[in-house]
Amino acid sequence: MLKLYDYELSGNCYKLRLLLSFLGVEYKSELIDFYPGNQHKSPEFRQINPLGQLPVIDDNGLVLRDAQAILVYLASKYDPSCKWYPRDNPEMLGQISQWLAFADGITGTASAARLHDALFYNHIDVEAARAGAHRLFRVLDEHLFFAEEAGQDWICPGDHPTIADIACFPYIMLSEEGGIPRIDYPAIRRWSDRFKRIPGFTVMSGVFPAGPAAKDSSKAVA
């Protein structure tokens, strides 16, 4: 069975739990003592990922690291509808890749600030990380605002979310734990409310389900 080297409080691991839940793919979590055990930096774990990072998957012997890369792989392999990653559509693939890279930028800023505040990663320049996150959130908020104007609900065109939405979602939702408020990003808020209503959506610690009012207006997208 597909194995995910997993840590509950990791937003990058959560990206994969989300996609696997949307797709209804069974998997086994191998829990890693990321904190305080630092198990991802152990010699044993570096055999699995020399970068000493989560997440990693092992799918029948294929070992892959990097949340974005794994999203591409899992969606290509396990989504027969091809909606999460429309692999025959070059325009979409280009745009999805652009936002996957953007998502890694969110990890480098918003997630870094959260690690600083919650887990004492004291070497991080937290003010720079917060400022960087705000720059990215501003870009995404504007993008989503114009997308909505064009009748588009998701980061990339089309009426179905893609792995780009999944990749951006976790560390935006957890940003307040790093001292990054989101009140100035209304389009991001509306998008994240829509995201939480995707059938199969699951939470992680620190992310809450859509409010009850939202349920009624839910619209099937899967």
Partner: protein, 295 residues
């Protein structure tokens, strides 16, 4: 140490956990903050734990002007003042068959008393820890007892009962769980909950809060459990999952400091214990991390 930045003499005279002892295996001095004072800790050449205050550069391990140190429950404790009592007892910690596990130390942008109060509140279980520590429709907090033990100077809430889908990593299904809460220190609490393994005994979960300042803390979480099935990682991560759910709730509390004026806030449901806690803090004259009652 120059004049302390914290002006609350009661808070200054308390013992505080500043780190799990395991952290001292790392080479060099570690740094943290206690009540706005920068402090460092390390083992000296003789292997003893040394804690000292500094103003920016910790330097090498000093031989003089160090702070009092105790090692207790797997953590290093220190104080910036002169405590008039010892660290409170947790007798269960010494029981031979218990698993004593440091679950985590987490930074939280909230005051220490708000964190203690959330820890005492069972009402949030079904909504915040859905399908783990609670689930709808089992939302009722039944009547429980609260007393302040004069002799031990601590608050005890007992006879608390709650239905829980997954009370601990060792649980195999839902159960009615009995709780006892102790608040033996203004910024620490110890809870006892029915053990899934042994009806006659209880699991222990303790939080020891280290205030960085009045609105930012770190919390050290100790588990002392009966569990012969799960490994340390599973036990630890179960507790982290729960705390990760509380964190955004705590950080969104407004105001961040706990108002002690009885009229200040419509108290949340089920908070006999919260009311007792606020009154107890007022009685002690604690001003740190609270909004004192208007005179």
């Amino acid at each position: 140490m120059s004049k302390p930045k914290c002006e609350d003499q009661v808070a200054l005279n308390l013992w505080y956990t500043i780190a799990p002892i395991a952290e001292l295996e790392e080479p060099g001095a570690q740094q943290t903050i206690l009540l706005e004072q920068q402090i460092a800790y390390a083992r000296n050449a003789a292997g003893e734990v040394v804690v000292w205050a500094h103003e920016g550069v910790p330097g090498g391990v000093p031989e003089q002007n160090t702070l009092p140190v105790q090692e207790r429950y797997g953590y290093v404790w220190t104080t910036l003042g002169s405590p008039n009592s010892d660290i409170f007892p947790i007798p269960e910690y010494a029981e031979a068959d218990r698993r004593n596990i440091h679950a985590a130390t987490f930074g939280v942008n909230v005051s220490a008393p708000r964190l203690v109060e959330n820890f005492l509140d069972m009402g949030h279980f079904p909504f915040v820890h859905t399908d783990i520590l609670g689930a709808e429709p089992h939302t009722e907090v039944k009547e429980y007892f609260v007393e302040v033990s004069e002799e031990r100077d601590e608050i005890i809430a007992s006879n608390c009962k709650f239905w829980q889908p997954m009370a601990a990593a060792a649980s195999s299904g839902g159960a009615d769980v009995d709780y006892i809460y102790r608040v033996p220190h203004p910024f620490c609490s110890v809870l006892y909950k029915s053990s899934p393994l042994d009806e006659s005994r209880k699991d222990v979960i303790a939080i020891f809060i280290q205030p960085f300042n009045q609105e930012q803390v770190r919390v050290h979480m100790l588990l002392s459990l009966l569990d012969d099935a799960n490994n340390d990682t599973d036990i630890r991560l179960f507790q982290q999952t729960i705390f990760g759910q509380d964190k955004p709730i705590l950080e969104n509390q407004y105001p961040k400091r706990l108002p002690l004026d009885p009229r200040a806030e419509t108290p949340i449901r089920a908070d006999k214990s919260a009311i007792a806690y606020r009154r107890w803090l007022s009685g002690k004259g604690i001003t740190y991390g609270v909004i004192p009652p208007a005179a």
